[in-house]
């Protein structure tokens, strides 16, 4: 690709936006998974604690 060509700024902007959108989709999905897993682990630990107290 010739970066000195006319309008190459539009091409660079398009690829930069695509990178940001795709990265946001990937990072958002993985961050959501981490947060859900942590919450599930917390609730499991609480249930185990209640189970131990009852037995």
């Amino acid at each position: 690709m010739n970066l000195a060509a006319p309008h190459s700024g539009f091409v660079i902007a398009a690829y930069a936006i695509a990178f940001v959108v795709i990265a946001a989709m990937v990072i958002g999905t993985l961050a959501d998974y981490r947060s859900l897993k942590k919450s599930l682990e917390r609730i499991a630990a609480r249930a185990r604690h209640i189970g131990d107290a009852r037995s």
Partner: protein, 251 residues
């Protein structure tokens, strides 16, 4: 198909498929980007701006493909009552919105140097904007209705009504005089693009498809965990969550 109605079985399948689709996506996008940026020639009229096509066209195809996936899921919810259909639909909506946003912004960046304007209210551009608004409406509906079962039925009906827009997008360039060019790949008589530009385009399109499949599986896994968490929180609010329920695997 019914085997994977059980979320635990589905999560096991995701664990096997994810490395395959993620690897395929990385490979296809790496090769596609290399071909699109360094191998494919500049257009004799458009020059270097034609390279926006390798992002814009796959995004546009994905915007419609994701909506077709959601329409199938809506039928799965309303007709077959498949337990994972509404999970699939809810997980796909933000991804469809993102691909449609990418299609609109890259199209705008391509339109300015070629047409002399960022935007025109022609049939193709307007119908894609309507698709983007439909995606946002579906995401909003999922957010405002608390009961997932009720939300699933309402969103399924809304999705089926919105499906009318997909053939309008596809055929808008044939039915009306538009500034947007007509189809040049999927058309009667075969593609009109040179092979040196068609191959990078097709590789990028397959890469975008595997990217969607990967993210969709991840998002469905998240939605299953979110529902499990919701159920456990409600049980915990009633008293104590039964240990058997809590002990289900998280993935």
């Amino acid at each position: 198909m019914q085997n994977y109605a059980n979320p635990t079985h589905f999560l096991r399948l995701v664990r096997v498929l994810l490395p395959v689709t993620a690897g395929l996506t990385t490979g296809l996008l790496a090769v596609g980007l290399y071909l699109a940026l360094f191998v494919a020639p500049a257009d004799y009229q458009q020059g270097e701006t034609v390279r926006i096509m390798y992002l814009h066209v796959p995004s546009a195809w994905m915007a419609m493909f994701v909506y077709l996936v959601m329409t199938s899921a809506a039928i799965g919810t309303l007709v077959f009552r498949h337990p994972l259909a509404d999970v699939a639909q809810k997980a796909a909506a933000p991804l469809g919105a993102a691909f449609t946003f990418l299609c609109l912004t890259t199209g705008s960046l391509w339109g300015k140097p070629e047409w002399g304007t960022w935007w025109v209210w022609d049939a193709r551009l307007t119908s894609v904007l309507v698709l983007f608004l439909i995606y946002l409406g579906i995401i909003a509906l999922w957010q405002v209705i608390e009961d997932p079962g009720k939300a699933a039925r309402l969103v399924a009906i809304f999705t089926l009504v919105g499906a009318v827009n997909v053939p309008i997008i596809k055929f808008s360039v044939d039915w009306w005089h538009t500034l947007h060019q007509p189809a040049s790949v999927f058309r009667m008589g075969g593609p009109t693009i040179a092979a040196s530009m068609l191959w990078p385009l097709l590789i990028m399109a397959v890469g975008f498809t595997t990217l969607f499949l990967t993210l969709h599986m991840l998002a469905m896994r998240n939605e299953i965990l979110r529902r499990r968490l919701r159920r456990l929180s409600m049980l915990a609010a009633d008293g104590a969550a039964p240990l058997g329920v809590v002990a289900e695997p998280a993935e």
